[in-house]
Symmetry: C2
Subunit: 97 residues, 2 copies
């Protein structure tokens, strides 16, 4: 569990995984979704998720560059947890933001 906690440490990891739930997304799309994340932070969080094996990073050799992120099988196995957290939030949440 300490491991799971580690893997999710970081302000944006949950939301990123949640966003990749249905389909892959480009860097810019993720950035747009999390509209007050800085570019540097986003890169860092994505690299950590990649390093921990939860997401793939797919670089297309184009100009301008395109990079797509998607869930690995391991990342997919994490989705049920996120779903439970989501419904817990819906049931008890007093809307933080």
């Amino acid at each position: 569990m300490a491991y799971t906690q580690h893997v999710l440490s970081g302000r944006w990891k949950f939301l990123i995984l949640w966003f990749l739930k249905t389909k892959e997304h480009r860097f810019g799309e993720i950035k747009a979704l999390l509209n007050d994340i800085s570019q540097g932070s986003l890169t860092k969080q994505l690299r950590e998720l990649e390093k921990d094996g939860l997401i793939y990073r797919n670089v297309f050799p184009e100009v301008p560059p395109r990079v797509e992120y998607s869930l690995t099988p391991k990342g997919c196995e994490f989705l049920p947890i996120l779903e439970m957290m989501e419904s817990f939030g819906l049931k008890f949440g007093k809307t933080i933001d």
Copy 2:
């Protein structure tokens, strides 16, 4: 989900809830379990969990004082999530500590 994340923010919350899973525990017991948490930090984490309605704080009017912490129904509803995190950790974890 942002709410769920908020509720769990803090280095020790997971472990505290996990420890209270089966039965209530005294302040000192929790402190002993998390053997490198400072007293101040523990108090803070417990107060937050209490404020967020996940645990009860039961003060016994004795000398020396005895305080027991236990899960609320809401806290219990959180257990399945912890269990999934635990098994995810067991499956993929590369033992952090």
